[in-house]
Symmetry: C2
Subunit: 508 residues, 2 copies
C-alpha cells in the first residue's frame, strides 16, 4: 500500500513537473550552452568610454534579445553608450516587469589579474583553470573569471536563459517583460537621466527590478529596497614647481604628500566617521519599517571578519548592515612619487587622492560638494577646479585642485509595497528559502531615476556571489549563482502579480 | 708711453699666460670633444642593480682613466658594482688628493622624461633641442639632459678634461691624484664600507674631495664640510584580505589608505617637524664655528620661493640653510588603489608609503629605527618585517610591515682644517669668487667612510647646477657648470698644499 502510494506520487510528479522543475531540467541539460553564450559576451571589452568596444557589446546583446523574440530599440545620445530597450509582450498580460542591468564594466589593470580580464576562464576553488568545454558536469562551485562576470553581465545572460527555459517548457511569461541594459553605469550613468527624459515611455512598467550587485554573504537571495547615491572627487595638492632632492630641500620645500595626508585626516577618521561639520545633517533617519527590516537582516559580520582577515571593522562595533545605511567616504586611491624599488629621494610636485562618497536620502551631490569644499577651505587651502598656474601657486600657501564627478542621489522604496512583495514571494518560490529584505544596498545604482513620474516601485534583485571581486582584479561569478538566477527570473516572469496576490499556491 | 706700457703688458700676458688661462683656452678649443666623451658615458644605463649595465660603465671609465695615464684597479665584492680606484703619481709630489664621485644613478621612469634618460640630448633654456655636434660655439646656458648628467657623472668627465688641459699646457699636477668612482651610491653604498675595510689603502690620501651634489643656488661654488646621513623605510598597512566594493563594505572594512595617512600624520607634521618622542635627542648642537659659518651662508630662500612657486616653506620661517642641519623625514612616495581615470570604487587590500630619513650627528640608522618602531607600536600597530599571513591579520586590528634600508650616519669635518682651507683657496683662485662654505650638505653622501683611521678631512666639492632635477625626470647639467668644474679641478690639482700654505700668490 505504501509502495503503491509512493509510486503513484512519483508518477504524478513525472507527469506534471512544476515550472520550476522544468526550468531546472532545461538548465542542467544546457549548462555548457548557457556558459558559452555568457563567455562570448564577457570576451568583449566594455569600458563605457571606449565607444567601439561598447557598440560591439550592444550589438551582441541586441542579437541575444532578438533571438528570444524580444523587440529591441537603442536609445542614443551623442557621447553616450546606447541604452538597449527590449520589449517582450505576452498576449493577455496585464502588467509589465522592468529588468535593468548594465553591460559596461569598471576600468581594469590587467597586470593585477591572474588571467586577462577579457579572456574569460573557468577556475575551480583551488585556483586551477578548468577546460570547461570538455568533460561531464560543470561543478557549480567553479567560477567564471572576467571583467563584468558578476557586475553586471550575469543578469543579462540569466534572463536570456530563463526565457529559453520557459519556452522549452511551453510556459509563457505571465507578464510583459521590459529590458533596459545600460552601457554607462560604471562611469556614473552620466547620460541616463537625459536619455530617459527624452524617452519617458522607456520607463513604463509596474515595477523595476535593478539587477546589479551581490546577494547576501550567506549566499541567500536578497531584495534591496534602496541604494545609496554617489559622487566622487579627485584631489590634487601641490608641492614645489619641480621635483626636488629630498636631502637638499627636505623639511623646507612643502611635501605635498604630507599636505594631502593631513587634509584627508581632517575629513575622515579611521572609524569611517566623516569629520566635516554638518555632513550628516541631510541624512534622513530610518522609518520604523526600515528599522524592523534592518533588525531582521542576518548579520554576516563574524563570517566576513574571518574571511577578510579583519580584526577591528570600522564603525566601532556597529554591524555592517547598519553601517551601509550611513553616508560614507572611501579613499579609493592615493598616489604620489614612488614606493618600493622605484622609490627615489625626491620631494614630489604634487600628490593625488581619489575619493568616492556614498549618499543616503536626502543628501545630494551638490550639498556634499558644498560641505566638503567649505571644510577644505577652512583647513587653509585655496581651491581651484583647473590646473593652477605658477602665479596661483606662488600666491597661496596651500593650493588644492578639486575635480568632482557628477553623481546622483540615493533612493528608498516603500518596503511594504504589494508589487515589491510579490517579487519577494516569487523568489522564495524559486529558491525555497526566505528572501533577505534589505533596506538599502550599500552600493550605488541609479534607482532614483526609475521611479519616473508615477513613483513606480524600484527594487534591487542582485544575483552575483558576494565574494566576486567586483570592481577589482579577478572579478568572477560562481556558476551556482548563475543557475540560481535562471530559476529566479523564470519564477518572477511567471509568478509576478501586480495586485500583490500570489498567483498560485507556493509549495515550499 | 702709456701705449708702450700697455703693449708691453699685453705682450707679457701673451708670453706667460697663467695655468688658469691655459686651461680655459684648452677647454674653449675642445668643448665638443669634452661634451662628446661625456655623452658617451651618459648613454650607458647605470642603475646599481643592473650588473651588466654597471660593468659597461666601469669599463668605459677605466679606459677614460687609462687614456690619461692613470693606473686603475677595480675593487670587487660579490653582488656589488666595482669600485674604480685610479692613481696618478706626480714625481716629487708630497701629498695626495682623493677625488670621489659615483657612476651609478637613481632609478628612472622614462614615461616622465621629455627625452629618454639614456639618450642624452642638449636643449636650450626654451626647451628646444640643439644639434650640438654641428655649428659654432656651444652656448654655456645650454644643458645636457640624461640620468646622471649632474648626479654624478659630471665630476668624472670634468676631472678627465682638467687632466687633459694641464697636460696640454705642460703643467703637471703638484700632487698625486687618487680617484675613487663608486657604482652603488644611489642604492645606499651598501657594500662600500666592507670594500674599504678589505682595501684600507684605497683611502690613503691627505684629503678626500667628494664630488657630488649641486653648487649653491646663487650659482657660486660651495664647499661642504659635512653631509647628512640617511636611512629609508617602506611601510605597508593592510585592509581587507581581498579588494572590496566600497559601496557594500565602505565604512565597515578598514580602509588601509586612511590607516596609512593617520600613521604618517602621527609621525610628521606639515611643518617638517618629526613628532616621534625623543627623535631629536641624538642631534648634536652646532659648534660656534659652525654657527658662524651658517650665519655667513647667503640665503637663497626668496629666489627659491619664486622659482619653485612656494608661498610658505616648511620650518616656520627658519631659512633653508638652517633647516637642512636638522634631522628630516621626507615621504617620498605613497601608493594605493588608483586615482584619476583609473580610479575604481574599491577598498584596497593594502597601502604603501616610502620614506627617506636624513640624519645628523650623532644619530644612527639603528636608533632612528628603534624610535620610529617604538612610536608606530604606540599608535596601536602590530609590526612585522615580512608579509603577514592571514592569522596575523586576523589577530591584530592594525598590522604594518616595515622594511628598512641600511643607511649610514652623518659626517662633519672641522671647518678650520688647513688642508680643507687650501682647497677652498684653490677654488677661489679658479673662479675669482669667494667660495660659500657650508656646514653640511642637506643631501647624503657616505663622507663618514672616507675619514679612515687617521681622520683624514673629507669635504664636499659639488659642481652641478642646483636646478638639475637630480633624482627626478629630466635630470640635466648646465654646460657652464661643466666648464667651471674643469677650471676648479685644474686649480686644485696644481694649487693644493697639504700644509695649508698657499702655493702661489692668488691674483684675484
Amino acid at each position: 500500500m505504501l509502495l503503491a502510494c509512493m509510486l503513484s506520487l512519483i508518477s504524478a510528479a513525472q507527469q506534471t513537473p512544476s515550472v520550476q522543475e522544468q526550468v531546472r531540467a532545461y538548465r542542467v541539460a544546457h549548462e555548457r550552452e548557457i556558459a558559452g553564450e555568457f563567455v562570448r559576451l564577457l570576451a568583449l571589452p566594455n569600458r563605457a568610454t571606449d565607444t567601439a568596444d561598447i557598440q560591439r557589446n550592444a550589438d551582441l546583446i541586441q542579437s541575444m534579445l532578438e533571438k528570444r523574440g524580444v523587440k529591441v530599440r537603442l536609445l542614443r545620445m551623442p557621447g553616450a553608450p546606447p541604452v538597449i530597450i527590449g520589449e517582450l509582450l505576452t498576449p493577455g498580460a496585464r502588467s509589465t516587469i522592468g529588468i535593468y542591468a548594465h553591460y559596461d564594466g569598471q576600468p581594469t589593470d590587467p597586470s593585477q589579474w591572474t588571467s586577462p580580464p577579457f579572456s574569460p576562464v573557468v577556475r575551480e576553488p583551488s585556483g586551477k583553470q578548468i577546460d570547461w568545454e570538455k568533460g561531464a558536469n560543470l561543478n557549480p562551485e567553479w567560477r567564471i573569471y572576467a571583467r563584468s562576470a558578476s557586475d553586471d553581465k550575469a543578469p543579462i545572460e540569466a534572463t536570456m536563459a530563463a526565457l529559453d527555459a520557459l519556452r522549452a517548457s511551453n510556459t509563457p511569461p505571465s507578464v510583459n517583460v521590459k529590458f533596459m541594459f545600460e552601457g554607462e553605469e560604471e562611469a556614473g550613468s552620466v547620460h541616463l537621466s537625459d536619455i530617459l527624459k527624452d524617452n519617458p515611455d522607456a520607463l513604463d512598467a509596474d515595477i523595476w527590478l535593478l539587477c546589479d550587485g551581490p546577494v547576501h554573504q550567506s549566499r541567500r537571495m536578497q531584495v534591496d529596497f534602496g541604494a545609496r547615491g554617489e559622487t566622487d572627487l579627485e584631489i590634487t595638492v601641490y608641492g614645489p614647481a619641480r621635483p626636488l632632492h629630498s636631502g637638499h630641500y627636505g623639511n623646507w620645500a612643502p611635501n605635498p604628500i604630507v599636505l594631502l595626508t593631513h587634509l584627508i585626516d581632517s575629513i575622515r577618521d579611521m572609524n569611517g566617521k566623516i569629520l566635516v561639520p554638518g555632513f550628516y545633517d541631510d541624512a534622513r533617519p530610518l522609518t520604523e519599517t526600515e528599522k524592523q527590516t534592518l533588525a531582521q537582516t542576518p548579520a554576516a559580520d563574524e563570517q566576513l571578519k574571518q574571511e577578510l582577515a579583519i580584526r577591528a571593522p570600522e564603525g566601532d562595533g556597529v554591524p555592517l548592515a547598519e553601517q551601509i545605511l550611513k553616508p560614507a567616504l572611501n579613499v579609493r586611491g592615493i598616489q604620489a612619487g614612488y614606493v618600493g624599488s622605484q622609490a627615489a629621494n625626491v620631494i614630489s610636485t604634487e600628490a593625488k587622492a581619489s575619493i568616492d562618497f556614498r549618499l543616503v536620502p536626502d543628501q545630494t551631490p551638490n550639498n556634499v560638494r558644498e560641505k566638503i569644499e567649505h571644510h577644505i577651505r577652512s583647513q587653509g587651502f585655496f581651491i581651484v577646479h583647473e590646473d593652477p598656474d605658477m602665479a596661483i601657486r606662488r600666491a597661496h600657501a596651500h593650493v588644492v585642485k578639486l575635480e568632482w564627478g557628477s553623481g546622483y542621489p540615493a533612493y528608498r522604496a516603500e518596503i511594504s509595497n504589494a508589487r515589491a512583495q510579490s517579487v519577494v514571494r516569487a523568489i522564495e518560490a524559486a529558491t525555497g528559502n526566505p528572501v533577505i529584505q534589505v533596506v538599502s544596498l550599500g552600493g550605488s545604482i541609479p534607482m532614483y531615476l526609475f521611479q519616473g513620474k508615477n513613483h513606480i516601485p524600484v527594487i534591487g534583485v542582485p544575483i552575483a556571489n558576494h565574494d566576486n571581486n567586483q570592481h577589482a582584479a579577478d572579478e568572477n561569478l560562481r556558476l551556482q549563482n548563475l543557475w540560481d538566477a535562471v530559476q529566479v527570473y523564470a519564477a518572477i516572469f511567471t509568478e509576478f502579480n501586480a495586485s500583490g496576490e500570489p498567483r498560485s499556491p507556493v509549495g515550499h
